[in-house]
Symmetry: C2
Subunit: 500 residues, 2 copies
């Protein structure tokens, strides 16, 4: 057992090194790379990916995993060893299920589709993208079928991002959530709107950067193990347990963008910096799922960063950093301004109250595409009518509607629910944290986050990918992923702000 | 033939990808990496190196190379195909000659030695480093012996950096050069010293950066294929034909440092950006040798950057960038100041007239260590006495003497001559360029470098590693590496400046 486990770990270590090397190349591509380096960078990433795949998907690793899985039957199923083998075997089974020719073909199809999607969006013409999306949907269904038997054809897709989660689970969650969110948004829409005009003045770039960095440090970022850079799109990436980086972008006339994006990415980074050090260079040094990852980013961004308690402490500092813009704006006005709700067409610009509705709209379409209940050609109309149902706004163009997001052109179907699930989990954890730490709000209003970060490390971060997401949430909160805490939070918050 | 060649190229392409990925990781380590990322970065680089080695050193590649070498006997020996196989086979023979256990052992020894060297230097105590250097010398001799038969035990070491070059060649070159350089330095020392006090005023960082970038652009750098960053030590690195990067450091009270280092690294980068595009992802997309590489950097730094012609055009711009510091310094005073000769103890601070003497001192010691004529324990005294002979200065401490350079602690023996050979080659090429382009000096004094860069691309850059260094110099200039042009250049330049 010991010898086989070491052999497996040796190989997994090399694969981890290759994946982290790819992450460095990817980071550099988005942060530093001169324009014409793209072609060769693509080749290099291709080679690293191929070598990592070949190290993993081969009979020797398959045999090792089978032997070890048999032998771990005598181990505590919750031991790190048993879980490492379970998680690795799960990845192995998935990676061996799809033939490499199909992966290569899918890469070709999505590369073309991505270009055609960009063209379709810029020309506002869905028909350009339609045949490519049809091909993608067809191939994704074929891939899903490789994972039969399943309860639902969307299950294998969802499972890639949310291990162990079923389509019936998310359907049930979102069927409860959607009408309540629709109702909330309606109530807000009928209330007097708050003022956020002061968030559209000019906020100098360097001062925005400095304030964001100071907040990230307060949250617990340690620049000996991290750094922040500029990139076109904010993201978090890991090169190991001790080098986890974030990026941001700054718009001078939209200060909320960089500020909350830095908080968001800091939440992601603190998660990855908190994995058990014994998991280094193994598949356990990863997030439990994208929803759990998102629960961390959304917690720091929204539950902390858009709270009255937080700004009680930090607003005077923000006013000092931007006296011209904010000296005449009081705390309460500022707090309402950063929490303004306004149904809009674009997901990435959506506020807390409307965000999940965008996600549910897209997820519903994905599920029906997989079920064969919906055809690609009908998507523009379906999109528009549901947008009106869910959010009360109508998109005039496909560019602002069904074509707005890049994900489908890359073949990513099954990914969207994780955005909304993360919001739900963040509040479940938040309620439990408040039970465990009655002083939490008071500490936040003093700008102190040490106790909160410690709680997250102990209860969430350290476990990495050891537990599946539903299991992890259950272990911590006593219940699986549940929309009720999130609705309580939203209703409470917006009743207070909008006074309905 | 075609099929085998394609098979070889396919493997070489992957190795090239891995090596370029390692280069990205190395660049990031020196430019961006947070402090605690070092351990994991080392593991990642280790894995990438191991995979590249395993892809290359195996019986399949060995057999391919043998077959191809036999088949290319019918080809033009100067064809790219024949040369690719020759250069690759040369690397293969070298990489298979040293057993991997010995490489691993050498890595362990030098890792320890590096730490002990740093300690020895900071405590100014050679005895701390001595046993480690003894072990390194012993191992390097063992490695050299694996390459028997040889004419001289230093040959295999030199050959790693200067393919095809013999110890007898460099001995002959340097035996001619040394007395003439000693004599020149003596003549300068007896002349009236020039003033360079204006190069020790405060020159603001950003203005230094901007001026350096502008010069690099004038030389021919294209930021779509390159970039400059800050690093502790200036260097050039390649991630492919279209992503070659340089770094610099800026001392506000030493403006010559960043200015000439940017010119130097630009020279290296232009070389790597100029390889024949057909050589992409093969071992031919590399420098012919370190001396040829250095000939490019020294040409732009010294022959161009420290010339009167260059500053005739650019000095007014420099004065505009730094009016407080330079408005009262005329062109001639500036020109003499940047060419001040002053024998000193430290190689990296040496000027053009004394630099080679530092190199020859160390190379002489290396050769005698290999011959067994010198023992490690005697190095401090030997260093001091030769320093006095060669440069007329005596080092009071070992830290400023035998311990000053890092190279030996990393096991790099055979590397130093390349620094001096590069200087010699730069002037040989320079003379040929002047024959081919009578307007060269006039163009430089107009700030025009297009013709010069084109000449270098056509005659030097495009060939990459196709020709061995002596062969390349012979093809271009009609003679092998020769110290006479360099001495002509030095004597002419310094007689003019120092008036002896």
């Amino acid at each position: 057992m010991e010898e086989k486990l070491n052999k497996l770990k040796h190989t997994l270590g090399k694969i981890s090194d290759l994946n982290h090397a790819s992450a460095v190349l990817g980071w550099d591509q988005q942060v530093s790379m001169p324009e014409l380096g793209a072609l060769e960078r693509g080749e290099q990433l291709g080679t690293l990916g191929e070598l990592a795949h070949n190290l993993f998907v081969n009979d020797e690793v398959g045999q090792l995993l089978e032997d070890l899985a048999a032998e771990t039957k005598n181990l505590d199923p919750d031991s790190d060893e048993a879980r490492l083998i379970k998680v690795t075997k799960r990845q192995y089974d998935r990676d061996t299920r799809i033939p490499s020719e199909m992966i290569a073909e899918f890469a070709r199809v999505t590369t073309v589709a991505h270009g055609e999607w960009a063209k379709a969006r810029s020309q506002n013409q869905f028909s350009i993208f339609q045949p490519h999306l049809e091909k993608i949907v067809e191939m994704v269904r074929e891939m899903a079928d490789l994972f039969k038997p399943y309860d639902h054809p969307y299950d294998p897709l969802l499972d890639m991002f949310e291990p162990g989660m079923k389509t019936s689970d998310v359907k049930q969650i979102f069927d409860t959530l959607r009408p309540q969110q629709v109702e909330l948004v309606k109530a807000i829409s009928e209330s007097k709107q708050v003022d956020d005009s002061f968030l559209h003045l000019n906020f100098p770039k360097q001062a925005q950067w400095d304030f964001g960095v100071a907040i990230a440090e307060k949250f617990g970022m340690n620049w000996e193990r991290s750094r922040q850079d500029y990139a076109a799109h904010p993201f978090t990436t890991s090169f190991g347990l001790d080098d986890v980086r974030i990026t941001t972008r700054i718009h001078e006339d939209l200060p909320a963008s960089a500020l909350f994006s830095t908080m968001h990415e800091t939440g992601h980074a603190l998660y990855e910096l908190g994995f058990n050090r014994d998991y280094r260079r193994t598949p356990l040094a990863d997030s439990a799922s994208l929803a759990i990852h998102e629960s961390q980013s959304r917690m720091w961004e929204n539950l902390v960063g858009r709270s009255r308690n937080f700004w009680t402490h930090f607003y005077p500092q923000l006013q000092t950093a931007f006296p011209q813009q904010l000296s005449n704006v009081d705390l309460e006005t500022f707090y309402r301004g950063i929490n303004k709700v306004e149904p809009s067409l674009i997901r990435v610009e959506a506020d807390e109250a409307t965000y999940n509705l965008h996600v549910m709209l897209r997820m519903g379409i994905e599920i029906e595409l997989m079920e064969g209940k919906l055809e690609v050609k009908d998507l523009p109309e379906v999109w528009k009518s549901r947008m009106l149902d869910y959010l009360g706004v109508a998109s005039a163009t496909d560019a602002d509607g069904v074509l707005q997001d890049v994900h489908w052109s890359g073949g990513m179907i099954g990914y969207f629910p994780t955005y909304a699930l993360g919001n739900l989990v963040s509040v479940q954890l938040w309620e439990k944290m408040h039970q465990d730490m009655p002083d939490l709000d008071e500490n936040i209003s003093k700008g102190q986050f040490g106790e909160m970060l410690q709680w997250l490390r102990t209860n969430v971060h350290q476990y990495g990918a050891k537990y599946e997401p539903q299991e992890l949430v259950q272990r911590i909160t006593g219940s699986k992923i549940d929309p009720k805490p999130y609705m309580r939070y939203l209703n409470h918050k917006y009743q207070d702000i909008y006074g309905f």
